[in-house]
């Protein structure tokens, strides 16, 4: 079954009375990689948390195909096929790498094919195979990010929401992680990627949204964005 599109229409959300997202709309078509870039603290992470149900939308609708996600609890959003790989990883620190990956296949449909998915994840991210019996809390930052991505892949999701995969990592590790994301892109995964480092996504994305102060201020082709340095300078400082 082909993955449906993710559509946000006029979504607002925030925390304890502070509005972070302001009537924001976007679309992620099936089989594409869409990137949201923007300065720190302007709502990129909140947007993903809103889609996955960790933050409740106060206005607007979030639809994934025929399913309206806006009113679903996070576990039901996962059951709908929307997998969030969060910033900060949210790993299970006392579980081994393998058990963390198996938690990614918690839902029955994913668990039924977990052995096969585990082999796929180990092939895509060989570091995880080497570390499979190691406790998650002892992994390095880059390994933790890879584990978070691997765990997301275990879920048999129909769309991946990936939050700042390069945050705080060494350039060589970022290269490895983007190589893995590129692999996912080539195999037809639908991905919504949040990234602060715009240069990382120019070669990868089908479409870029620029988020500033909780609103989409620009959207278009990544090459077009690359050719407009004034936009990058205004919103991303370079």
């Amino acid at each position: 079954m082909p993955a449906p599109s993710l559509v946000l229409d006029g979504v607002s959300a925030g925390y304890q009375g502070t509005q972070v997202l302001k009537r924001l709309s976007l679309e992620v078509a099936a089989g594409t990689l869409v990137t949201i870039i923007g300065p720190n603290g302007h709502g990129k992470t909140t947007l993903l948390r809103c889609v996955s149900g960790l933050v409740r939308a106060t206005a607007g609708t979030i639809r994934f195909g025929e399913v309206t996600l806006s009113r679903l609890s996070p576990d039901r959003v996962v059951a709908a096929g929307v997998i969030h790989i969060p910033q900060g990883d949210l790993l299970f620190p006392d579980m081994s790498v393998r058990d963390n990956l198996l938690m990614g296949a918690y839902l029955p449909a994913a668990f039924a094919v977990s052995r096969q998915k585990l082999a796929e994840v180990y092939r895509l991210l060989p570091t995880l195979a080497e570390r499979q019996h190691q406790v998650a809390s002892t992994l390095s930052g880059g390994e933790r990010r890879m584990l978070a991505i691997g765990r997301g892949l275990m879920a048999e999701g129909r769309i991946l929401l990936i939050d700042e995969p390069s945050l705080g990592l060494a350039p060589i590790v970022i290269d490895q992680i983007y190589e893995a994301i590129g692999g996912l892109r080539r195999t037809g995964h639908t991905i919504l990627l949040v990234e602060e480092n715009a240069s990382r996504v120019f070669d990868l994305a089908d479409k870029v949204y620029l988020l500033d102060n909780g609103q989409m201020v620009w959207q278009g082709d990544p090459q077009e964005l690359a050719s407009r340095p004034e936009l990058l300078a205004t919103y991303l400082g370079g």
């Binding site: 996955s52 149900g53 960790l54 609890s73 996070p74 576990d75 996962v78 059951a79 997998i83 969030h84 969060p86 990883d89 949210l90 790993l91 299970f92 620190p93 006392d94 579980m95 058990d99 198996l102 938690m103 990614g104 918690y106 839902l107 668990f111 406790v135 809390s137 002892t138 992994l139 390095s140 930052g141 765990r151 879920a155």
Partner: protein
């Protein structure tokens, strides 16, 4: 030598009873950050449920334990659905739920008082006779308590380590948002943990009342001891709680034998004070290695 055997048998019996109750308390704390002050009332309800099933309803004695487990399960679920689920998202949940469960304990204790009166009963879930090891007489009831407790602890350990439900409980305890993002229905996990805690407390209550008597307030003393064990082991550390329960059971039995029964509980209090000074995170708490 006979004295040592006597102390060890008594200590293991006490430890087995404490362990069941403590594991329930520890699981609830580890998963929900919830100090369940109704734990003592759950023990009493378990004891009275076994009594009611066999004496009031006339069921065979072998059904006393399943009856207590069923009632403990239902009361645990009721605690979630009637109290906890309304408070979970409040910023002051940890404090509010202590007050709420103290109130619940008072209500449950008075319900038991109203239904059965204040007169202490004998628990019918008893095995007569015993065996002799040298000069030491070991009642079969003590062996039954150890066997039932060990079986239930093994079942709990299997459930937590090997099953999908257990993985969900461990994941929720380690990272609630992380578990939600894996599709774990965290609220259902909380209900399951409270129901499991209720079952363990109810069985502990049956065991305890089988060597003492049934009384509405019978759960307070073991609840305090369960708290002591949890603090010494490290709150939420279930395996540590198990080891600490047996160790403290033996220490309590030893102190009671050497210095008198009235010194058993003060000795445990002294231990918890020493533990809090030397290792406030708990004697058995893991020193987690985290790479930065």
């Amino acid at each position: 030598m006979d004295t040592l055997i006597q102390v060890i048998v008594s200590g293991l019996t006490l430890g087995a009873m404490y362990a069941l109750s403590t594991i329930g308390l520890s699981l609830v704390w580890g998963s929900l950050n919830m100090l369940n002050m109704a734990q003592g009332a759950l023990l009493a309800i378990g004891g009275y449920a076994a009594y009611a099933a066999t004496v009031t309803l006339g069921l065979p004695v072998v059904l006393a334990l399943p009856a207590a487990m069923l009632v403990g399960f239902l009361v645990g679920l009721a605690i979630y659905f009637a109290i906890v689920r309304f408070m979970l998202n409040d910023p002051g949940f940890e404090t509010n739920v202590i007050i709420a469960t103290v109130g619940l304990a008072i209500v449950l204790e008075n319900v038991v008082l109203k239904l059965f009166g204040a007169y202490p009963f004998t628990q019918p879930f008893q095995l007569p006779d015993g065996l002799r090891i040298g000069a030491v007489y070991v009642p079969y009831q003590n062996l039954l308590i150890m066997a039932v407790s060990l079986a239930l602890m093994a079942a709990t350990a299997w459930l937590i380590a090997r099953t999908r439900m257990g993985r969900a409980i461990r994941a929720t305890a380690q990272n609630r948002d992380g578990a939600l993002l894996m599709g774990v229905p965290v609220r259902r996990v909380f209900a399951q943990v409270l129901a499991l805690g209720g079952v363990l407390a109810a069985v502990s209550g049956v065991m305890l009342s089988s060597i003492t008597t049934l009384a509405p307030t019978m759960g307070y003393d073991p609840m305090l001891k369960a708290f002591i064990i949890c603090v010494i082991a490290g709150l939420g550390n279930t395996l540590g709680a198990l080891v600490a329960a047996f160790a403290l059971g033996i220490i309590e039995a030893g102190v009671q034998f050497l210095f008198g029964v009235r010194f058993g509980f003060p000795a445990l209090l002294l231990l918890v004070i020493v533990a809090l000074i030397l290792r406030p995170e708990g004697v058995f708490s893991r020193r987690r290695t985290v790479r930065q």
